[in-house]
């Protein structure tokens, strides 16, 4: 794209509309290569199981700091408001940032967010000065309530984490986009293919966050580039204005020599 088209989140601007997770890669080096190929400005990181009280993950976190990206710590693995709030406070201290990807998980198998605990935790954390980016379902009322308590970004899922299923409920996702036109919306989780990320951007979503589809590819850096290109393409298509679909195929030039009443 030739024109500047920055992403604005909580008053900060970013060139890239691709947020990448840092877990599950074959090695820290593979993660660094993927982040570079993704051209992203923001990376997420989890710390729940890394003994954050004692900085157990320090060597690994140092690798993530090397990316030079803005860090977005998450509360992955937290199942209650209390756990999430405690971990948020710890990550604010460890990484010197009040940005937080808030996850509160209700279902252990598909890692489905707990909408009630999510809202409660978001309310508490925003009052404590956090800039909360909540990982939510695509439920309009939940997303609206998250905005009401002060979330300035909403991150609905495309599909459950790690499934690679793509945008499962496009009706809901379209409704969210239409009803929350001034809130940055980021598709978080469930994407498996670049075409799905492109589709999210074509729907008018502001950015895409993913991890597994890149980290678990046989060549993570190459897949990261594929997603980055698809996200750029989808954004450009949205800005350019997609044509409306039509019921019948219509030739773009009239068929000369055929009477119009025979042209269907």
């Amino acid at each position: 794209m030739t024109q500047a088209d920055p992403l604005n989140l909580y008053g900060e601007t970013f060139d890239s509309r691709f947020l990448l997770g840092t877990a599950l890669y074959p090695s820290p080096q593979a993660m660094l290569d993927a982040v570079a190929a993704a051209r992203c400005n923001i990376v997420t990181l989890g710390l729940r199981r890394q003994d954050p009280q004692n900085k157990g993950g320090e060597n690994f976190w140092q690798n993530i700091r090397e990316t030079g990206c803005k860090l977005l710590p998450n509360t992955a693995g937290c199942k209650s408001v209390k756990e999430a709030v405690n971990l948020a406070e710890m990550s604010r201290e460890l990484f010197q940032t009040d940005w937080l990807k808030l996850e509160v998980i209700a279902d252990d198998y598909n890692l489905q967010p707990d909408p009630f605990a999510l809202l409660e935790a978001a309310d508490i954390l925003i009052k404590r000065g956090f800039k909360v980016l909540p990982y939510s379902t695509d439920d309009l009322v939940l997303c609206q309530r998250l905005v009401d308590v002060g979330c300035q970004v909403i991150m609905p899922w495309g599909a459950p984490i790690g499934t690679g299923q793509g945008l499962l409920n496009k009706y809901n996702l379209r409704a969210l986009r239409e009803r929350l036109p001034n809130i940055p919306l980021i598709i978080d989780a469930g994407l498996g293919a670049p075409s799905q990320a492109c589709e999210a951007m074509e729907l008018g979503y502001d950015a895409v966050l993913l991890n597994t589809a890149v980290a678990k590819a046989q060549q993570p850096a190459l897949m990261a580039k594929a997603f980055a290109d698809a996200i750029d393409a989808g954004r450009a298509a949205f800005k350019a204005g997609l044509m409306q679909k039509r019921q019948t195929a219509s030739p773009s030039t009239p068929l000369i020599g055929k009477p119009f009443w025979h042209q269907k």
Partner: protein, 343 residues
């Protein structure tokens, strides 16, 4: 091989240190082994490891180099352990089985796709039906509908192996237990040697940049009711767990993988994950006895690949081997072979 015998100091009595000591002694070098821990306090990653020799399962999560080092190492284990007449006691090559529950069967297809990606289609992996699986492992839960059999893979009885190596080395060399093994400043004990071999694993973090520990947790069990012949790996979207049989209906189940240098005891979350995986392999494991819960660190470099690095300690040549990560037993013999060729 005729070589000029060297005076070699080896730092670290984990797998790499002991294996190197043994092979260097066989090549008539003079060896002294320095270990920070006391004689009977085993806290190396090698003591915690389950010692699967699984080049195919591991290539899927690393790269071709691990497969090549692994296949070479299996051949070396067979030949080296035969010299001590302990091959049959310590080494089993019955293959291994990759499993997934019915609702996670995509994980098997993903595994197979990755295997083909790294090794091509002639990779010796074989799909098993339920009946074929039960013929191989008749104590397995019959609910598994299919599996992948990897006939080339093997496993070692690592603790018995380490004890055998310690005995051999103590008979043929000097071992300094509870010794200072630092290299970041002048270590007077190491002044008189021709060569220092740094096999300290995580202990080398003072002199090796980018070394990090990756936490792993395992359970040791005894279960007289269940008989399993070969390593089983259970594929799951988030946990990749394995069961490795030991003699006398003992089993090791592992391993978690956490990006943390935390060496505190096993967490409840990890114990739950390990136990529930175990239970689904055969519900009779519910009455198994937990003999031991162990947590330790895998020494890893940034690319999770091993490295052989030349350094200096004063004027003395130092060769550091590190970063074996989760592949210690799988690749150590091939690395020691390379080491023998370089000195």
């Amino acid at each position: 091989m005729s070589v000029t015998p060297l005076n070699i100091a080896i730092l670290g009595a984990g797998l790499l240190g002991q294996l190197s000591a043994w092979r260097l002694l066989k090549h008539n070098h003079r060896v002294e082994l320095f270990e920070q821990a006391p004689r009977h306090k085993q806290h190396s990653a090698a003591w915690t490891a389950a010692a699967m020799l699984s080049p195919m399962s591991e290539v899927v999560i690393s790269d071709r180099r691990i497969y090549d080092l692994g296949m070479r190492s299996i051949a070396l284990w067979e030949s080296w352990l035969s010299e001590l007449n302990v091959l049959d006691a310590l080494f089993q090559r019955k293959g291994s089985v990759i499993l997934a529950h019915a609702h996670d069967e995509n994980e098997l297809h993903q595994f197979y796709q990755e295997l083909n990606y790294h090794l091509g289609e002639k990779n010796n992996a074989k799909w098993l039906t339920r009946n074929e699986l039960l013929e191989l492992e008749n104590d397995l839960n019959p609910e598994f509908r299919q599996a992948i059999y990897l006939p080339d893979e093997a496993h070692l009885n690592n603790r018995a192996l380490l004890n055998t190596l310690t005995t051999f080395i103590e008979e043929n060399a000097i071992v300094h237990w509870q010794a200072p093994v630092y290299l970041n400043e002048e270590n007077p004990q190491l002044a008189a040697f021709d060569l220092i071999l740094d096999c300290r694993g995580n202990g080398a973090n003072e002199s090796l940049a980018n070394l990090r520990g990756v936490r792993g947790e395992v359970l040791h069990l005894h279960c007289p009711e269940v008989s399993i012949q070969r390593p089983l790996r259970l594929m799951h979207p988030r946990y990749k767990l394995y069961l490795v049989p030991r003699p006398g209906q003992h089993f090791i189940i592992g391993a978690t993988e956490l990006e943390s240098s935390d060496t505190s005891p096993v967490s409840v979350q990890s114990a739950l994950e390990l136990c529930s995986a175990l239970y689904t392999l055969n519900p009779a494991f519910a009455e198994a006895r937990i003999i031991e819960l162990d947590a330790n660190l895998r020494p890893a470099l940034k690319d999770n690949m091993p490295a052989i690095v030349e350094q200096k300690h004063g004027d003395t040549r130092v060769i550091a081997i590190n970063g074996l990560y989760r592949h210690g037993y799988l690749i150590a013999p091939a690395l020691v072979e390379t080491l023998l060729a370089t000195i």
